[in-house]
Amino acid sequence: MKHLLSTEDLSYANAIRILDTAEEMAAVGEREVKKLPALRGRTVVNLFFEDSTRTRISFEAAAKRLSADVINFAAKGSSVSKGESLKDTAQTLAAMGADAVVIRHWASGAPHRLAATDWIDAAVINAGDGTHEHPTQALLDAFTMRRHWSTLAGSPSAGADLKGMRVAIAGDVLHSRVARSNVWLLRTLGAEVTLVAPPTLLPIGVEEWPCTVSYDLDETLARGVDAMMMLRVQGERMNASFFPTTREYSRRWGFDDNRLRALDSLGLKDTIIMHPGPMNRGLEISSAAADSPRSTVLAQVRNGVSIRMAALYLLLSGDTREPATSTAAYSKESH
C-alpha cells in the first residue's frame, strides 16, 4: 500500500490490517503517554482545498501521536487561491520534503492525480475528494460497526469482519463521498447494505452497486437494520429541485423521533445510529436520535483518530523508497 485513495480498490486483507492496527492505536489513546515514536522525522502535510476543521484536526492529532511533523496547508488565503496550480503546490511540497500528503479537495479525483503524476513522490491519503470518496471516514465507520458487531457476537474485534451485518445508509447519496466509500468497504467486509434516498438523490448507475436501493425508510427499518447511518443533506438542494421542501424531506427520509421509537417497537434493541457529521439536527436526524444511547456519533469521532493513525503508520513507517521485498525475508531478523 503506497497510497490510500479509495475503498473501492482496498483489498479485504488491507482493510482488516488497517482496522486491526487501529485497535492497537486506540489502546495508545488510553495510555499515560499518548504518543508513539514510529513516525519520528517524517513530515505529514495536511493539504486542504476545502474547509474541514474536523477532518484536519483528526489527521493532525493522528500524525502528532505518531511523532510526525505536521504542516497544515489550507488553500484558502494561500497562493493556491491566487491561481497556483495543484501541480505547483505538489512540487512545492515535494521540495520541502513531505513524506505524506493528506489531501482534501473539492474536485473528485484530485488525490488520484497527485498519486498518478510525478509531481510528488509522497504517500497520498485521500481525506475526501469532491463527491467521490472519503476512505478514512468509511474505515472509521467500519471500525465503529465492527466493535459493536463483535461485542454483540461476544468475540474480539481484531481480525473480524462485518459478515451478515445489515447496514442502511440514508440521505443524499448522489453528492456523498461518504456513501460511496462506505458501500465499497462494507461490501468488502461482508455487510449487507441498503441505500435509502429520494430517487433524485441517487446517481444514475447505482443499480450496479453492490447494495439494495430503497425509497422507503420505514420499510427498510421494518425489514431489520443493525446500523442506521444518516448522511448530511444540504438544505440548498431544495433550490435545485432535488426535493420539494426540507420538511417533506425530513418527513420521508429523516431519522426523526417516530422512527427512533419505531426501533424499539420493531424489537431492534441493538441497532446503532451513525452520522459522519456535521449534523443538520431536525433535517436528516432529530436531536433525540443524535443524542440517544444508540448514537455512535462521538465514538466515530474518537475512532477517526485511531483509523488515521493506522493509515499513516501503515503508509509511512516502512521503507517507502524501494519496492517492498517479501515480508518473509524480514520475519524477525534484528533481535
Binding site: E24, A27, V33, Y313, S317, G318, D319, A324, Y330, H335
Partner: protein, 199 residues
C-alpha cells in the same frame, strides 16, 4: 563455515542443524524460571512481559513453571505481552510491520519487577526498543531480561540476566526458534531451535 562441503551442490542450499530439541527447551525454561525466582527472592511483584511473536509463548510457559514452583502465583495474572514494533530504530529500512497487541497484566507495571522475555538475543536493538516501550507504559522498579538463546554479535550495551543457551554463531547464519504456539504447521507440534547456514 569450514564444515560446508565443496561438493557440487545447488547454489543456495540451506544446511540446518538442531541445537535444542523439545526437551532441551523445556529444561532451559525450567532453569530460567528458578533463576528468576531466586534473583527476585520469590514471586513478589513479578511481571513477565513477552515480546511478540515468540517471546510471548515463552513468557506463558515460564509463568506456568513459576506457578508450579510457587502455588500462590496465578500464572495468568503475571504474564503480559509487550509490542515494540513502533519503537524500533529500523522501521524506515524495512517493509511496514503491523503492530501486535500490547497487553499488560491487570496489576500494571508500576513498581513491579518486569522480566522481558524474548526468544533470541542478537544485536540488542529489540530490547532497546522494548525498554523505550516500557517507559511509556509506566515505571517498573526493576527491568530484567530473559532469553532462550543468546547468539552474540551485540550492537548495543545490553546483556541478558537469564539465558537458556549461549550459542556462538556467525552472522551469516540464521537462528530459528520454532514453538508449537506460533509455528505449528499442519497440526504438527514443533519445539526446537535450529541453526541454518547458507552455503
Amino acid at each position: 563455515m569450514t564444515s560446508v562441503p565443496e561438493a557440487p551442490v545447488p547454489a543456495k542450499v540451506q544446511l540446518s542443524r538442531v541445537v535444542l530439541n523439545q526437551a532441551d527447551i523445556d529444561r532451559a525454561l525450567t532453569r530460567i524460571a528458578h533463576e528468576i525466582l531466586e534473583s527476585n527472592k520469590g514471586s513478589q511483584d513479578l511481571v513477565l512481559l513477552g515480546i511478540p511473536r515468540r517471546g510471548y509463548p515463552l513468557a506463558v510457559r515460564l509463568a506456568a513453571k513459576i506457578a508450579a514452583a510457587d502455588p500462590d502465583v496465578d500464572p495468568a495474572a503475571i504474564v503480559g505481552q509487550l509490542d515494540v514494533t513502533m519503537f524500533r530504530d529500523d522501521l524506515s529500512h524495512q517493509p511496514t510491520r503491523p503492530p501486535y497487541p500490547t497487553q499488560l497484566p491487570c496489576t500494571g507495571i508500576d513498581n513491579k519487577v518486569v522480566v522481558l522475555i524474548d526468544d533470541v538475543l542478537y544485536s540488542g536493538r529489540t530490547i532497546r526498543a522494548a525498554l523505550d516501550a516500557i517507559i511509556d507504559l509506566g515505571r517498573p522498579r526493576i527491568v530484567r531480561l530473559a532469553v532462550l538463546i543468546d547468539r552474540g554479535h551485540r550492537e548495543l550495551p545490553i546483556r541478558a540476566d537469564h539465558v537458556g543457551k549461549n550459542l556462538p554463531t556467525s552472522s551469516a547464519e540464521k537462528v530459528r526458534v520454532r514453538l508449537e504456539e506460533t509455528d505449528s504447521a499442519d497440526g504438527e507440534a514443533v519445539n526446537e531451535v535450529v541453526i541454518e547456514a547458507t552455503a
